[in-house]
């Protein structure tokens, strides 16, 4: 069988609209990308495509204690179980509902597939002039074995409004699962949006995530992508700036071990003048893990006075780990400031000895230095619970019992 067969069989029994049928057919015609596609050069979906997945999700109930176990503990939670929206908070000025079908430009075939078949996801509309004080946590639980779930989400933030979101996809089925996650974010004038992704799913899960962010004048949008878990992760993060004085910030941590794989593809499209973008991705690779980073920055002809910065720093903590990193700057305006930097290295032996001479054991010393490496991203997290969780996950993954908070 394999995934394509699963999909075709599933689609046959769906009452797809004509548009969606066309989209689906074009997806089938092209198929999943392979390593001969430039954007997937270092990222092979072979294993995923060969596997069988279940597209019909069961309807299961979930205990509150399970939700709490995976939750960061913030007050306002949106909870999905097997694609169903089971809980959403009441927040003044914020309208939260389930899946809303929306059309949008698709960057790639996998988003096209999502567009054709997805039937669940969230829709969040923040009214004008609304500052949402508390962060909203969105939890996606999956209990169906070997499921392939597709979420299609939309966030629209009204003028002068602010919101912070944390997203967490968690598989509870103890099987190989695949998630195709698509999120469309509209940041209207003078908005402040912060979106955090904790990608700490179990070891057999595959995630393909695509987030398209559209920014208008004076908006600030920040996306933090924190990858600790999962077997295979591909993130496509696309920013499009459509007004002056926009700021796009994206930070990431990939901390991988074993055979884990994670790929961060980012794209910032500077279409208008006087905007900024800052990008900081840190990768830490243990065991036989593999990372990919591709950071594309496009500065269009009219986008003068752009200040764009990108950095991708990587620590290879084992001889068998790999990173493929590619900065990709295309600049068509002449009065801009664009810089990028990429480093790949190991821990500094002098610093290790320094720590050990102070009584810190070798594993702990390595962990502290690794934390130091990642700290710029972790310390920047504005939600204390999230910062705390990241510190704990980092310590846990490096096998030490250390508290990095102070």
């Amino acid at each position: 069988m394999g995934l394509i067969d699963n999909l075709e069989k599933y689609a046959q029994h769906q009452n797809l609209s004509k548009d969606k049928r066309v989209m689906f057919d074009s997806f089938i015609k092209k198929g999943f990308p392979t390593t001969s596609d430039e954007e997937w050069k270092y990222t092979s979906l072979k294993k995923v495509v060969k596997s069988d997945y279940n597209l019909l999700l069961e309807h299961t109930e979930i205990e509150n204690s399970v939700i709490n176990k995976y939750s960061l503990g913030v007050e306002d939670k949106i909870v999905f179980v097997d694609g169903n929206l089971v809980y959403s908070p009441e927040i003044k000025g914020v309208h939260i509902s389930g899946f809303s079908d929306f059309d949008c430009r698709n960057n790639d075939v996998i988003s096209k597939l999502n567009s054709a078949l997805a039937k669940s996801g969230f829709t969040i509309v923040v009214e004008k002039n609304t500052v949402v004080e508390n962060p909203i946590e969105i939890l996606f639980f999956n209990l169906t074995k070997n499921s392939f779930s597709q979420y299609r989400n939309r966030i629209t933030v009204g003028e002068n409004s602010e919101i912070k979101i944390i997203e967490n996809i968690q598989d509870l089925s103890k099987s190989s699962t695949l998630v195709n996650h698509f999120t469309h974010v509209s940041c209207n004038k003078n908005t402040k949006v912060e979106y955090n992704k904790i990608q700490n799913n179990c070891k057999d899960s595959t995630l393909i995530d695509c987030m398209n962010i559209f920014q208008k004048q004076d908006s600030v949008c920040e996306v933090n992508t924190l990858i600790f878990g999962g077997d295979f992760t591909r993130n496509n993060l696309n920013f499009e700036q459509n007004g002056t004085n926009c700021e796009s910030n994206m930070n990431g941590i990939s901390l991988l071990d074993g055979n884990q794989f994670a790929d961060n593809h980012t794209f910032v499209d500077h279409k208008t003048a006087h905007c900024r973008s800052n990008e900081m991705y840190k990768g830490i690779y243990l065991g036989k893990s593999k990372g990919v980073f591709n950071g594309k920055i496009m500065v269009r002809q009219d986008a003068q006075k752009i200040d764009a910065f990108q950095s991708n720093n990587n620590l290879l903590l084992s001889d068998n780990s790999t990173i493929d990193s590619k900065p990709q700057l295309e600049i068509y305006a002449d009065d801009v400031k664009c810089s990028h930097g990429c480093t790949i290295g190991q821990l500094d032996n002098e610093a290790l000895f320094y720590m050990r001479s102070r009584g810190v054991g070798i594993s702990e010393a390595k962990a502290v230095l690794t934390y130091a490496f990642a700290s710029e991203v972790i310390e920047n997290l504005s939600i204390p619970e999230l910062k705390n969780l990241s510190q704990r996950l980092l310590a846990h993954k490096l096998g030490v019992d250390l508290d990095f908070s102070l």
Binding site: Y354, R356, S357, V360, L406
Partner: protein
């Protein structure tokens, strides 16, 4: 406390220490002086356990245990402390976090729980006062962007926090101006007790005016070629090393 016998050590097949003998008792301050390249820093690194150095012969007994069998962190747990000549910058870790971790790990090794946060902060404040360290310093990144003097002061601050039995100060005076030197030396003096010992490695008599040694040793080409009281340092200042090394 510390008994070094016929210590021979080197790096990549080059022997640097060619048979060092030295005994340091609790309560004593020893100064090790000597021209550049005589092996002063090698000696301190070997005692602290730097793995780049290979010990070929001899023994280093610390409180009845052979230090050479221990990892650097175990030596620290037993009470050995090295104030680095060139302290390492660690961006991303604050001074307070660094010290909190060091202290907690040392206490863990000794079977003690970490100090409660309140007590830890109180202790930090006391020691900061001792070394005239300004507020805001704790949240700075470890040695990052520190001036030479700040780095050395940070070393002594760590020493004050970790309360070692044997402190080796490797050229703690280099990079210090006169005021900083006095503050650092004052701090070291205040931390002296009858139970701990200090080895001061220096080029100059200057530091020894503030930290007065009980013994002064001259290291030359990997051997201690002369030992004496504090007056030996004065004589070296006046006459240089030539008169000893030529014999």
């Amino acid at each position: 406390m510390l008994k070094i016998k016929n210590l021979k050590a080197g790096i990549e097949e080059v022997q640097i220490l060619k048979g060092i003998n030295l005994e340091v008792k609790a309560g004593e301050v020893h100064a090790i002086m000597g021209p550049n390249g005589s092996g002063k820093s090698t000696l301190s690194a070997v005692i602290a356990g730097k793995e780049d150095y290979e010990v070929e012969d001899g023994s280093v007994d610390f409180l009845g245990e052979d230090l050479m069998d221990l990892d650097p962190e175990e030596r620290a747990h037993k009470g050995v402390f090295l104030s680095f000549q060139y302290p390492v910058e660690i961006p991303g870790i604050s001074v307070s976090n660094f010290i909190k971790t060091s202290l907690a790990e040392k206490r863990k090794a000794l079977g003690l729980d970490p100090l409660p946060a309140k007590d830890l902060l109180k202790m930090m404040r006391e020691k900061m006062e001792l070394l005239s360290i300004k507020k805001g310093y704790l949240s700075r990144n470890m040695n990052e962007g520190f001036s030479g003097g700040e780095k050395k002061r940070n070393e002594i601050f760590q020493m004050a926090m970790l309360e070692p039995k044997l402190s080796i100060l490797d050229e703690t005076d280099s990079g210090l101006d006169i005021d900083a030197l006095r503050i650092v030396a004052n701090g070291v003096n205040k931390l002296r007790t009858k139970d701990n010992a200090t080895i001061v490695i220096t080029h100059y008599q200057r530091l020894l005016e503030h930290i007065v040694p009980d013994f002064v040793h001259v290291l030359h080409e990997g051997r201690i070629i002369k030992s004496g009281g504090k007056e030996l340092a004065l004589e070296l200042e006046k006459r240089g090393y030539d008169w000893i090394t030529k014999n």
